[in-house]
């Protein structure tokens, strides 16, 4: 039995005691899967799983506090759920987790570089080596390495880290460039090498096209203020209303800081951005700092306390007295 069929069986079995199970179904075209709330056994038939199931479904969990729900989680997505549970924003006992091994998801922005207009892709297939997109101009073959999301190329956790049911054979942790302090790769290295003025110019140019839609925020599993976000407060105006790169970058910096020690680098923020702003780099940078200072990665251990949720008089890696 394939992992997907196994998963369907397990979900059907569990459904009677749950309000719904969140998974994916085929979206409006061949390239898009879409989050799917399964309520009946017939719904489960429509469940899909593959490299187009890009969404981190743990984003939905905080809104179902106190309700019994099920969720399908890939390795990286399970970190979001775990971090939310660590922060007591989601109750472990109310969530039934259907864990999966994942061998990587596609980055549609990268596929677009090969296929041109993604809205004209008629069909997609893949195997271990290649994605094949059918377009009106013919077949476009994209090597797997060039199609996968960056996070998948250095994935440490291909299997859901926390699961009540696990479908399929667990995968060995992927090998590849070191995910530790080098995580972020060339993009981050290039940004870190820039002089402050150049860096500001880089971000000003990138944020120019931001439309302040806050998809980056709402797609992020760890952004839990939601309706009470600082970006929408008028009484205090932490952010001005101006449509300038400065205000827009200010929000990204707030987001990044509010995610310090909590961000699981799932990449949803950047994936959700409708105008493709490379905002994940800011989170990667912060994650690197958190690893250096606190030797901590978010969402790995239900019992761990995130570094900014606790206080130590003497932090091992912060040399306060030497300032």
């Amino acid at each position: 039995m394939s992992a997907l069929e196994m998963l369907k069986d397990k979900i059907r079995e569990a459904l009677p005691s749950l309000e719904f199970v969140i998974g994916w179904e085929q979206g409006f075209d061949a390239l898009h899967a879409t989050p799917f709330f399964m309520r009946t056994a017939e719904d489960v038939e429509k469940l899909v799983f593959g490299p187009l199931c890009v969404h981190n479904l743990s984003t939905y969990l905080p809104s179902f506090r106190g309700r019994k729900v099920g969720i399908v989680l890939k390795g990286c997505d399970s970190r979001g759920a775990i971090e939310l549970m660590q922060e007591k924003l989601v109750e472990r006992e109310n969530v039934v987790i259907f864990g999966l091994p994942c061998s990587g998801v596609a980055d549609l922005a990268k596929l677009g570089r090969f296929a041109g207009d993604l809205d004209r892709v008629l069909a997609v297939t893949w195997d271990d080596e290649t994605f094949v997109l059918t377009t009106p101009a013919g077949e476009v073959r994209v090597p797997r390495e060039a199609a996968l999301a960056d996070k998948c190329l250095t994935c440490q956790f291909p299997n859901a880290l926390e699961a009540d049911h696990f479908a399929g054979e667990p995968l060995p942790p992927a090998t590849g460039p070191d995910m530790g302090s080098d995580r972020g790769g060339e993009e981050l290295a290039a940004l870190e090498a820039m002089a402050p003025a150049d860096l500001m110019a880089y971000w000003a140019e990138a944020m120019e096209r931001c439309i302040r839609c806050y998809a980056c925020r709402n797609a992020c599993p760890m952004c839990v203020c939601r309706d009470h976000c600082i970006a929408h407060r008028r009484d205090l105006q932490w952010l001005g209303q101006d449509d300038t790169p400065r205000e827009k970058l200010m929000f990204q910096l707030i987001h990044t800081l509010h995610l310090a020690g909590r961000c699981t680098e799932c990449g949803e923020c950047q994936r959700a951005c409708p105008v493709g702003i490379p905002i994940l780099a800011l989170r990667r940078k912060m994650n690197r700092v958190i690893r250096e200072l606190f030797d901590y990665q978010a969402g790995l251990d239900l019992q761990a306390v995130p570094p900014l949720f606790t206080f130590q008089v003497e932090e091992a890696n912060i040399e306060e007295r030497k300032w």
Binding site: H32, P35, D117, R209, C213, A215, N218, A219, P274, G276
Partner: protein, 357 residues
Amino acid sequence: MSAAAYLPAPRLGEWLKELSGRYLVLAPQARGDTVVFAPFTGDAEPVLDRDAAMPPKQAVFPATEELLRYRRVKDPEDPGKVDVEVSASLRAVETVVFGAKPCGARGFLAYDRVFRSPAISDPYYAARRAKTLFITMACAAPGNSCFCHWVGSGPSDSSGSDILLTPVADGFVVQAVNERGEELMNSPLLEPAGTREAKAREIQDAAAKALPAAPDISRAKDSLMAVFEDLAFWEEVSAKCISCGACTYLCPTCYCFDIGDEDKGMSGRRLRTWDNCMSFRFTLEASGHNPRPTKAHRLRNRVGHKFSYYPALHGGAVACCGCGRCVRLCPVSVDIREIVLAAIARAARVREESAHD
């Protein structure tokens, strides 16, 4: 309408440069992996092989617009008395939007009924609208998320355009839609179209035929009202929505705004910014009550407004141009087409059931 002209593809840059002398020319340009409308400088080719992520609505309805500036002035005789000096800000420049799809330009017809109606005219909108011209590019082939034909439009609908271009081999057939467009066409770079005009028509027809048959959505207006109170329905169709505002900000027909003052000491500015019905603050009342407290209420507002409340106020015109941006670029692929059809089906079922009772 004057005879069609022909612009050889290699002359496109020159034509845009020529127009740039008289107008601010906004053209679709690559930014990273994205295409957005930006001032044409001649440094880069416009991107015409796919629709821009953002429609050209910034040209007429900016994300943030200064309405006025004010300054408080203390009366020197009586410092307790403060006067306010106000000066209106209205900067509208002659603009040509080049290379939008017909749907993106047609979006402004939905705005016009609101901001430039016989009853009320918004001076800021009206001034920019009057100074903005649209040279649009007919679609030679529709995309997966396009549904312009559902809402009474089509891949070469020129109703929001001043000039319509049709891509033919090695160039573009250029057709003026109105007098404003004709004025833009007196360029020595344009040649007579000759037989290419018939070729352009063929391409336009083929694009229209390439669209799958459109469902009948004439019942949408009443059906959406019929399911208005059916919150279970709205919860189901909005379950996966993450309640961001991308869909509305990307939409060529969403026109909601908010007005707020930015105060600095004794002076300040009054700004109008885009608002969107997906945001909690959209209808938040001063008392703290919110008539649209959940994403289900908010998505109901978005779909209902476009396909029911707006048509009810504006002679049946739908406030959606079928560009598909909200489908294509939604982080979770919420599909407005699906919701409209589901509402029609739900209302039909309820009607049937009550007929049997």
